[in-house]
């Protein structure tokens, strides 16, 4: 299963740090929430439910932004396919 790399650090300013590559990033509010959810190991369905509950967006519209965001995480090498223990 695709997951966020385990050791990704995120601070409450939206500063994201990947200790394994030394890269740093910033995220907006929704990006920060999604990274937190991913860190907690939530499934896409759970994340969709949580976001659409809190924000003014329907699940279908959210799906494309979700995909896009995951694509960027992949692009930035922040995801891993290995099952982490």
């Amino acid at each position: 299963m695709i997951r966020l790399k385990k050791n990704i650090a995120i601070s409450d300013t939206g500063f994201v740090f990947d200790p394994s590559t030394g890269e740093s990033f910033n995220v907006n509010e929704t990006g920060m929430q999604m990274i937190s959810f991913l860190k907690e190991g939530k499934t896409p369905e759970e994340i969709t439910a949580l976001i659409t509950q809190e924000y003014n967006i329907d699940p279908l519209s959210f799906e494309k932004y979700f995909q896009d965001f995951m694509e960027m995480l992949k692009q930035f090498n922040l995801l891993t396919e290995k099952k982490e223990v």
Binding site: S11, T13, G14, F15, F17, S24, N26
Partner: protein, 348 residues
Amino acid sequence: MNKKKLILAATGLNNTDNPGPGIPVIRSIKESGKYDLRVIGLAYETLEPGIYMHDLVDKVYQVPYPSEGSSALMERIAYIREREKIDVLIPNFDAELFSFMKAEKKLEELGIRTFLPTLQQLEERHKSNLDAFGRKYGVNVPKSKSLTSLAEIPKLRNEFDYPIMVKGKFYDAYVAYNEEQVQMHFNKISAKWGLPVIIQEFVRGTEVNVIALGDGKGNTIGAVPMRKQYITDKGKAWGGITLENPDMLALTDKIIRGTKWRGGMELELIRTPENKLYVIEINPRIPAWVYLAVGAGQNLPVALVELALGNAVKPFESYEVGKIFVRYSWDMIIDLKDFEAISMKGEI
């Protein structure tokens, strides 16, 4: 303590292998001991070393690049001004001077003083205008010509002896020994900096430099001549020595008197074997090697601050000859938290 309180803002904190003058300027003012000083650093990029030199810089704010325009810059300065009552601001980059000059009045309304050359002074000393500058102020400049097309290259033979210098409008300079090389450099330079491309007579000799400060009324407040002793591959001085040279000082006085130069400047000169001095370039700001002048007895940054504050400044009368500066690099250790702060909040 009855020291004068001063809040100083400065840019050019990029103390890299192509250093900006910000840190040496701040150091000069701080070490003078003249002020109860608070230093506000203005940074463009997040890894400018000066951002992390907490013993020299009390607080750093990121500012928008000059290419964003003076209104974006002023919006940011106004934000900073609400938090810091800046008395004097010293810009240290060529590229930002235009924006700060355009904003001079607005800065003054905010109570922020600067001491900058005028737009006319900035324009006149431009590389492509150097010929006219030489004629107007009666100083030697290399013969130069602006080229706008390749077709003009063969005709250069009638006017110049090879080798010649091929220069871009803003940056870049190459020596060309024949037409083919001029053509090659022309193509390269015009693609990068646009037209015209400037052809300059190649003046043989030794490069020497002067740092100077003009009071805007034609007086030279201070001037120190220097020869680079060691030059990096980027062409930057890594060591230099102050010279005793009345010709160079006389030339500096002549230029400052003629232009009524206001603010700091650096003259790049060539001394020919016949002992003639040619002006190659005039940089409209304090150079990064300013601390050598301070070490030799002329604290020009402090004089500039005083001029900006509207105080009368007595011209320096002497400096120590044979003082040497040697630059060195130094690795600082920085916490990720500091990098996060400047990256995320734009303040540290």
